[in-house]
Amino acid sequence: MARLVGSFAVSHIVMSPQGCEADAGAVVSGMREIGRRLKSLAADVVVVISSDHMFNINLALQPPFTVGVAESYVPFGDMDIPRDPLKGHPALARAIVAQGAEDGFDLARAEEYRPDHGVMIPLIFADARAIPVVPVLVNINTDPIPSAARCLALARSIRRAILALPGGERVVVLGTGGLSHWLCVPRHGEISEAFDRKVIASLVAGRGADLAALGNASIIEEGGNGGIEILAWLMAAEIAGSPSGEEIFYRPMPSWFTGMGGVAFHV
């Protein structure tokens, strides 16, 4: 059977380092550290949980959850991201879809999906693009956003799928997004360091359920319409079955309009 050998959560954007060189350097170092740890696990496949930034899942079709089941993916290329293709892992992707169906989740499947920065930035800075991926997309952009409780239930289903996968694959989970940011709404550009530190502290203490119990409305109130991307962090922690974790880095980045952080969960 497959083994879950690691789980991480990390923010998924970078912007120009001009004017914030030291902090940008710290963020990049943190992302690289996650990459160093991820690669040391000799992973055969990475399940990347992210939002999509309306390059794939937009208003034309609005599934709450989507799983990439393709053999390969060509990045969308937003943010000048190179379009070098990624390998997929259809066997695990389809196992997640099948387990989801047993567990009450009718997951959308995508043979055509163009990973945007939500998936690509963490993989690029982790130097992990050579590892096959299973993208899992949480639609935080159209209402109703899946509830935190629903996301945790799906995370447990994904964990079951991973652990039941035949073969000896070593599986790593990477939840991406956040931390706090308000984007093109009132409070645009604000960061809540208090929210960010609460998220990290709760997750490293194994109290993700407390964050989920806040509910989406409170998470958005405290962390912004972009802060709800922490649903992917909660899922990564839940898939890990993690009693605890470790903060890898945190920086509030005013000129990037967001708090940036990363956590490793103990599996």
Partner: protein
Amino acid sequence: MARYQVHKMIQDLSHQLGLMERFQADRQQVFAEYELTETERAALTEASPPALASIGVHPILQMHYLLFSNPDMASHVSMRDYLATLAKEH
């Protein structure tokens, strides 16, 4: 929430071959093709966050449109400054 035609145009700009080039050359012509109202055209011509918000453009699609309309912003929200360093190290 803006009319879907507004959102559809912004979404199509990322996907429809040649549309972005035509938009950059003559955005009023593209607005006409999508049968946008005068109010919508004025807001999209101004292309400021308050103008886009005034017609109810979705926040993420506002960001798409702002990046299409503002090269300095697109240059800031980019990973291009890191590419050379990453290529050397990886």
